[in-house]
């Protein structure tokens, strides 16, 4: 029987058997299992494929890859206008993420023109140089806190160079990104950090407008939608989204991946002996350690697997659950580089499929290549346990790694 108090918080069109407690930002399942994706995976046993959680203001949750693959691209019934749980009615627009068709594609194209495979391939040398610079900083000491010193520092450095931001501002940037995503940051502080990011973004658009260079900021200034240049607001919004979309995501995927790799000596040996399997390693890492819980706003009533979703409700496609879906990936808990017919939605699917997915994959591949080449044997420091948290983007921090000091 369902607790009558709980029942009262849930809309009448939700059936009793569709109600399951699941906390979007701090679900007890995670702590219980000590693994974010495995903790979420418990839902595959405990909950219907589509269920309603009364937590965080109430929202639908989808647990299966095939159902997510229908919802995420379905812009007739689901909107990207609001992507926060609990739902906050806000008119802040991150371009192109918060736009629905038909406007969306024009703006998406602005970014795609600079994140296409050719442009990304051309970045490989400088990305590799960054991986090595960061490894140089820690290798002699025989230990590091991976999440900050490598996981976060790497994508921030790559991003700054790509955008053309001055590298002496590195610490400042890293601090801002950290403050924005840290769980202890209060909503008021977050608004301040957000203002700070927007100011920073605006400053460099201004500078490059006066003096263009060969960087993404200058190139975005040249971009057009419907044959007109982007407005200042549009540019700032795009800059802001890049800041938020391209840093924390790569950082955390890397931290989850290296937390695993530090504990699997056989895999370290295999990657060292056969670097050609690293692309499969990256795909398996994206599957096993997907981190984004992707909300949608229901914009027209629709029935999904027996669930009556009403306009104005929020639905979450928990992408880690797609990778961990045992209907699609047998024995999903096993990290298997040789997995046949692997499927994941780490980068979502449909019109909003991550624009940065090739860059993210390249960053992951290169860091793994350089790390296993230079630090072929490493482990997690005895007696330490990383911290984990979930939310829009799951995070793993305080990852202390050790390796033999080079002579």
């Amino acid at each position: 029987m369902i607790d009558p108090e709980l029942r009262k918080q849930v809309p009448a069109h939700v059936r009793d058997d569709q109600i399951v407690m699941y906390d979007y930002v701090s679900d007890p399942r995670i702590a219980k299992v000590g693994d974010v994706q495995l903790g979420m995976h418990l839902l595959h046993e405990e909950a219907p494929d589509v269920f309603y959680s009364p937590c965080n203001g109430g929202f639908w949750v989808v647990t299966r890859l095939d159902i997510m693959s229908k919802i995420l691209p379905d812009t007739d019934h689901f909107s990207n206008k609001e992507l926060v749980i609990p739902r906050i009615v806000s008119d802040a627009v991150m371009i192109p993420l918060n736009l629905d068709p038909p406007e969306h594609l024009q703006y998406r194209m602005v970014l795609m023109r600079h994140f296409d495979p050719k442009s990304i391939r051309a970045m490989e040398p400088f990305i590799r140089a960054w991986a090595n610079k960061l490894i140089d900083k820690v290798i002699a000491q025989g230990h590091c806190e991976f999440a900050e010193e490598i996981g976060a520092a790497f994508p921030v450095s790559v991003f700054m160079e790509l955008m053309g931001y001055p590298l002496d501002q590195f610490e400042e940037f890293r601090r801002i990104v950290h403050a924005f995503f840290a769980p202890e940051t209060t909503p008021e502080e977050r608004v301040k950090v957000q203002t700070k990011i927007l100011e920073t973004v605006a400053v460099y658009f201004d500078e490059r407008r006066k003096e263009p260079r060969d960087d993404l900021v200058s190139k975005l200034l040249q971009e057009k939608v419907w044959d007109r240049p982007l407005t200042t607001d549009e540019l700032n919004s795009i800059g802001f989204l890049l800041f938020l979309a391209g840093l924390d995501t790569v950082a955390n995927t890397l931290s989850f991946t290296f937390n695993y790799l530090a504990q699997d000596q056989k895999m370290q040996e295999r990657l060292g002996a056969h670097p050609e399997i690293i692309p499969s390693f990256v795909e398996e890492a994206l599957r096993r350690f997907s981190i984004v819980q992707q909300p949608r706003l229901v914009k027209a009533d629709v029935e999904i697997n027996g669930a009556q979703m009403k306009a104005g409700e929020m639905v979450v496609c928990s992408l880690p659950l797609a990778g961990m879906d045992d209907h699609r990936n047998p024995m999903p808990e096993v990290f298997d580089v040789d997995r046949k017919d692997r499927a994941h939605l780490a980068f979502s699917v449909g019109p909003h499929t991550c624009v940065g997915n090739q860059l993210a994959r390249l960053e992951m591949r290169i860091l793994t290549e350089e790390w296993v080449r230079r630090i072929p044997h490493f482990w997690r420091k005895a007696g330490t346990e990383p911290e984990r948290r979930i939310g829009g983007v799951a995070a793993l921090s305080k990852l202390f790694l050790e390796w033999p000091k080079p002579n």
Partner: protein, 118 residues
């Protein structure tokens, strides 16, 4: 024997496909499916890029060339598809995004060449 029996199920349109490596094969395509789906179902897996948007005219990875005759039978290229095709140096007047082409009976015999990767 009647032709319907020779071509199998209810006259499924058959497409002639040339892969990136130049191999040729025939693919039976279900009416109503997208060309991309038909190619994948027919074993031409290279049409599915790792970075695909899933067939929603948002990534440009499913680029193909269609023979001139068949091209003229297809509904026109829409603005979104046109813009994405522009990414491709290899674009020709007979380029399409295969996720945007619906299979119909009239396409029986269409020749499809998988375009080079971006």
């Amino acid at each position: 024997m009647a032709e319907a029996e020779l071509t199998g199920f209810a006259n499924m349109p058959i497409l002639e496909v040339t892969t990136r490596s130049g191999d040729r094969c025939s693919v039976e395509a279900a009416e109503g499916a997208t060309l991309k789906q038909a190619l994948m179902d027919g074993g031409v897996s290279e049409i599915l890029a790792l970075t695909s948007c899933g067939g929603y005219c948002s990534c440009g990875t499913c680029h193909v060339f269609v023979d001139e005759m068949s091209f003229s039978r297809l509904p026109p290229v829409k603005a979104d598809e046109d813009a994405l095709l522009d990414f491709h140096d290899s674009r020709t007047p007979f380029s399409r995004l295969s996720c945007q082409v619906k299979i119909t009976k009239e396409l029986h015999g269409m020749h499809v060449t998988i375009a080079p990767v971006l």
